[in-house]
Structure formats: C-alpha cells, structure tokens
Amino acid sequence: MIPELGHFALAMALAFCIAQTALPLWGAQRRDARLMAAAVPLANAAMLSVLVAFICLATSYAVNDTSVVNVVQNSHSAKPMIYKITGTWGNHEGSMVLWVLVLTLCGAAVAGFGRDLPSVLQARVLGVLGAIAVGFLLFVLFTSNPFDRVWPPAPDGQGLNPLLQDFGLAVHPPLLYLGYVGTAVTFAFAVAALIEGRVDAAWGAWVRPWALASWGFLTCGIALGSWWAYYELGWGGYWFWDPVENSSLLPWLASTALLHSAVVVEKRGALKVWTVFLALMAFALSMMGTFLVRSGVLNSVHTFAADPARGVFILIMLGAFVGGAFALFAWRAPAMAPQGVFAPVSREGALVLNNLLLSCITAVVLVGTLYPLFLDLIAGRMISVGPPFFNMATAPLALPLIAAMALGPLMPWKRADLWPVMQRLWWVALVALAGFIIALVLTGQRALPALGFAAGLWLIFGAAADIIDRVRRAENPWARARALPRAAWGAAIAHAGMGVTALGVAGMALSTETLVALNPGQSTSFAGYEWRLDGVRDSPGPNFTARRADVSVLVDGAVVFTMTPAKRTFPIARTTTTEAAIRTNGMRDLYLVLGEEREGGAVLRIHHNPLAPWIWLGALTMALGAATSLSDRRVRVAAPSRRAVAAPA
C-alpha cells in the first residue's frame, strides 16, 4: 500500500510540475497575472507530493518491505535503523528521488522567499525549474522506478553492502545533490533572464545567494567525498583525479567563478553575458557529471549500477536543457549590451582575472576527464589521464589565482592602483616569504611544497589584512568589525579557508610512508615513533571476516597509544576493504594500513601525513564563509525589495 502511495505521489508531482512549467511560462509571455500566480501554489504542491513519495520510500526501507525490488536489492533486515534510512538514497533509484525532492524544495523556496521578486521573473524561474523537475520525474518514473514490486516477496534483502554503512557516505550524496540542484536554480534564473532579454543588478543580487548556497554545499560534499576516500580506500591519498571526483569538481569550479562574477553584476552591472553563461555552464557541468556517472560511460570505483538505457534518457534530458539553454543564449545574448566600464586594475578587473583563471582550470579538468573517453571513441585507444597531468596543468593556473585572491578584495571598484594595495599587503608578503624560506629549509629545499605553504600563509593573512584594512581607521575597530557587511566577513573567511586547505595540500606533499614486514613482537621506527606489532587476530563482523592488527606506538620505550588497522573480507561481495587506523593530533595524521600477512607476521604500511586534517578543515571554513555571507539580512531582504519598486505589475 505504502509503495503504491509513493508511486502515485510521484505521478501527482509530475502532473503538478507539467502545470508548473506550462502555466507560468505562458502567463509570463502573455503578462497574465493569474496564470503567473499559479506558479507558487503549484511549486508547493509539487514539493509536497515528492516529499510524500520520499517518505513512502523511506518507510519501505525502515520496515524492510521485501516486496519492493529496490529494498530487496539494497537493504537488509539486519542493518542498523540509521543505515536502513540512509540506504534510501544509497542507490540509483532512491538517490534520484532525493534529487527531485531537493529540486522541488528549491522550487518551493523560490516560491516562498521570492515574493519580492518581479512576478514575471519569478514565474519564469519557477517555470524553468518545473521543466527540469518534469525531466527528472519522467526519468524516475520510466527508467528508475523505486516502487516496483516483486512477487513473491523475497525472504530478506540482499544489500548489506557494508561499504555503504558509513556515516560519510550517508551524508555525502545529499550534500552534493543540494549543490547540484542549487546550480539548477541559478540556471533557471539565467534562462529566465535570457527569455526576458534583460539582466540587471537585482538579477545579480538574486542569483548570488543561490550560487553561494549551492557552492557551499558542493564544497562540503566534495570535501566529504575526499575525506571518505582518505580513510576508507586506505591509499593514504585524498584526491585521485578520478573521473567521478572530477565531475563533482567541475560544477564547483564553475560555481566559484559564477559567484564572483555575480558580484560584479550586482555591484557594477558589468559582465552580464558572462555571468549568464557561467550559470548555464555550472548546470551543464552538473548534468554532464550525472550523465557520466550514471550511464556507465565512465569506468570508476564510484559508479552506481550503470545502465545505457538510463544514459540515453539522461542524454536526451541533457540535450534538451543544456542545448536549449545554449541555443537561447546564442539567440538572445548578443542583444544584451555590455555595460559598466572599468579599468583593468580594479576590483572588477581582479574578479575578471579570477574568472579567467578558474575557467582555464575548469577547461583543463574537463579536457583531462573527457579526453580519454573521446580518444577511445574516435581512435579506439585506451589511455588514462592521471594525477601528473592534472597536477602539472592546474598548479601554474592555481598559483596566480591564489596570488590575486589576496589582492582583489583590497581593490576599490572601477579603478585602482596596484601600488597602494601592495603596500597594504607588504607584511603579508613578508609572512609568506618567511614561510617559504622556513619551509624550504625544513623540507630540504623542496620548492613546490614550500610554495604551497607560502600560498596558504598569503591567503590566510591576506584575508586578515582585508578585515584589518576595513576597520583600521575606525574610532572603535571592534564596533566597526561587527558592523562590517557579512558578505565581507564571508569572503575573508572563505579565502582564509582556501589558505588552510592550501597549507594542508602543501603538508600532504611532504607526507612520507614506509612499508615494513613485522613479526609479532618486532618493531620498526618511523616518523619519530617506534611501531611494535603485538599480533594479528580475527575480529569477525556481522557479514564479513576481519583481520585486525594490534600495533603499539612507543616513544622512548613507553607505549603512547595503540592503533588497530584491519582488513575486512566480504565473502559474498568478494571484496576486501581496508580499515586504516588514523591517529591525528590536528597537525599531522599517523595513518596505518594492514597489508598482507605472511608466516605469522604482517606487512604494515605507515604514513606520516603532515597537516592532512587541514585540507578538510579548510573546506569547512570555506563553506562557513558561504554561510556567513548568506546570513546577511541584506542578501535576503534588501536586494529584492529594491528591485520590487521597478517590478512591472
């Protein structure tokens, strides 16, 4: 009964979304206020319907309804309740329902918060969002129905996939989807602006919070994915330039560019066409990522069950939305007159530089990700583009970007002189230089990590200099600091977060590892500690067998702590997972992996990862910056009401 209710709710949602697409778009064209006004209740109804469907699916998982194919394939009665529920979106079908839920939630948010939005713009945005939801709902209903039944019901589920019984993996997809879907909202704003043929400051003010929110969620999602890879895959690395990782990084890069160029639209009315293009691009890249991951075109450890038939559907959807939007762009954008003159050296100029460099990085990652696919297609040759290419191609672009990141916020709009800005940053440059030299000496003259340390310090202290510069001349600097726009604080925090991540990346470049075979009782010394293998024992789990090593870590002959890395073997799934033991003190990670066992002893791989936690700490700080910026009342209230005066009735 409950699955049928969910299925029906999805169909209802489809009907609502078709209406949400047709009525407001038609109404906006005809300037028919009644048709346009239908958008808000329809968006809410669609959201509620999908919510009901989602709750039905989650309920089927919670009660382990084995007459539902999706539950049988992906769940099991022995799973802990929390993982039963998170399992709802741990599979292809369920994750698509979650996707649509987030999409309609965003629609409802535009309907709810957008009361001050010009009604024509709001109607068009909701219409476009409705169209996207129609596409995804058709996709769910026709190719990936999560409510299909099986008769007779299976005795129990088959999916006790323990890899998915993991907190990180339970939270990672929803965060990424929030980010992806956020790009759908900015896309809808861009398409609405193209239909209207007009982009103004208020449009920029409206797009920016959505771009910020989506960027913040993408940042968290990507960071969480990278953290998961770090502790679960047991390779000691945090980013592998895997195609699936790249396909989440691409929209992030485009969103980063978008949220900076939207500032220029908002404040100065310039870069309109470019901003619209970025908004289209961010969504196009998210859709492309979805296509690559779910169609089976890519070969990766992360892919969901691949199905070419689904791929065809997503590709048609991709063609309709992205192709349609770019066609509209080619048709309407030439009419948008460039505006807002500025000197090359100015805040705008710095933001343009930011956009150029970010676009280049996006292009590099895009080419590196797609090139093997297209080469295989055209020449039939298999190659893999690996980390060396990406590292070498992005580093020369990232360094000038970082250099400009500290300078940009200090520049005034329209026209600036580089010299005074540099003067205000001299002490930051000194700190970065000192960091560079110290790192160079301490690391034995390894230039690239030292450059990374300098970059990180430059960003962190540059962000501090920005805030200090704003409050310095005030009578009461503390009061002034509190009164600063949250957007300024947000930018400073996010830039500093980037610096923290840069420090983490630089630290990880100095990581060392060793591979030793030890018999019980034997020990080795590494990274200033003595590592003694006490023994390897069986440690059975619910559906796996595990071998667990007990390793004591000693300093001066005294045991400081013990670490217990393990290897789990899942006989049914025929997989082995490594459970790395990680011991962190905030400044470095000790990372211990159990390898092969031989003749009573075992091979241990020990990593010493300096500053590793900072990578994710920095990403969190960046997201915190986005949240700070979003918490500004002006973002939510003032900008739209300013525009409301000019809104056509």
């Binding site: 691009m281 075109v297 070969n299 590709l315 192709g323 770019f326 696919l373 295989d376 297609l377």
Partner: protein, 189 residues
C-alpha cells in the same frame, strides 16, 4: 560595425556548438556501449602490446600439469589465454564453463592459481573439469602484481609472438566470449 556584431554572435553561439559536439560524442559512446564497440571497462593495461613480465612459476603441488615461465609464452603455436584464478573466487565458477568451451576448441589456456591452496585448487578442477594446458601456482600473488592483476578472475590474450593483446578483469561470460575473446583469437590466429 556589423562585422563586430557578427563576430559577437558567432562567439556567443560557440557554446551551443561545443555542447552539440559533446552531445554527439556522448551519443556515440552510448550506442557503442550497447553494441559493444565502446567499452570503458576494458581496463587499459600497461602491458598491452608488450610481452608479459619475466617470471618462472612452479606447478601446483600434486597436479600433473607442468608449471611455466615467461619463456614458455614466447613463440606459441596459436593465440593463447593466460588466466589468473582461484578456487575461492565465485566469479571463477561463473567463468569456468567458457574456459572449458575454449579448451574444447583447442585454445591453449595457461592457468595461474592465485593465492590458493593446492588441494583446494585441485579439488576445484577435479569437480568442474580442467581447462588448462599448463597450471602454475602463485601462492603469494607476486607474479600477479607484476602483471598488474586487479583481482581474480583476470585473463590475458597473447598472440603467437607472445605479445599481450587483450586484458580483461572479471569473469569471461558468454557475452564477453562471443564479443571479445573469439574475434580476438580469430584475428591473431
């Protein structure tokens, strides 16, 4: 002036062109996936187009089949299959009938018993049939590392000169057999 405007139009239409080209490419990949001409899962191997790495492996203890070394794989009578397998591996059971069929056709199959106990391996073969021409044991799996084996089962096709022409990680199913293995064996015959 109109030249500038036209150039602007052209520039702004460029994204559409690029997106269309990418779309056509993706479409070709998808249709290739369905008819089997495009397969991203055929893991590229650094060994493709090269002879196998040097090794010499003993026979499986108690087996009548001799072990073999890399020298035995140079200058073959006909294209051959090298198959890494283990008795503990469930997909190897799925793959087994296809190997038996190949053997019946006279295709030489060099088996490497990967991280397996000799009695288990022999029991597996006596129960299900022995498709191998030669059978070597690699209990520590060190030779498998040199080959870059992902996991068992994993198979390689060598041409008559002993050059690796194809690599497949996973069980050779009936589909893989008809779409990849047989055409390749014919091509290099």
């Amino acid at each position: 002036m109109s030249g500038v405007l036209n150039r602007r139009r052209l520039l702004l239409a460029a994204p559409l062109g690029v997106a269309a080209a990418a779309g056509v490419g993706f479409w070709a990949m998808l249709s290739g996936l369905q008819d089997g001409s495009f397969n991203p899962r055929g893991v590229p191997s650094a060994l493709l187009g090269r002879p196998p790495p040097d090794f010499a492996l003993p026979p499986v203890e108690g087996s009548t089949l001799p072990g073999f070394a890399s020298a035995d794989l140079r200058g073959l009578e006909r294209p051959s299959l090298v198959n890494f397998w283990a008795s503990w591996c469930v997909p190897c059971i799925i793959e087994h009938p296809q190997l038996m069929a190949l053997r019946a056709e006279g295709v030489p199959i060099f088996g490497i018993s990967y991280k397996d106990r000799a009695p288990d391996a022999l029991q597996f073969l006596s129960r299900r049939g022995d498709p191998f021409l030669r059978l070597a044991a690699d209990p520590p799996g060190r030779v498998a590392i040199d080959w870059g084996v992902y996991g068992v089962p994993e198979s390689y096709i060598l041409d008559r000169q002993g050059i690796i022409r194809w690599r497949y990680a996973g069980p050779i199913t009936a589909d893989i057999m008809n779409e990849d293995v047989k055409p390749l064996l014919r091509r290099h015959a």
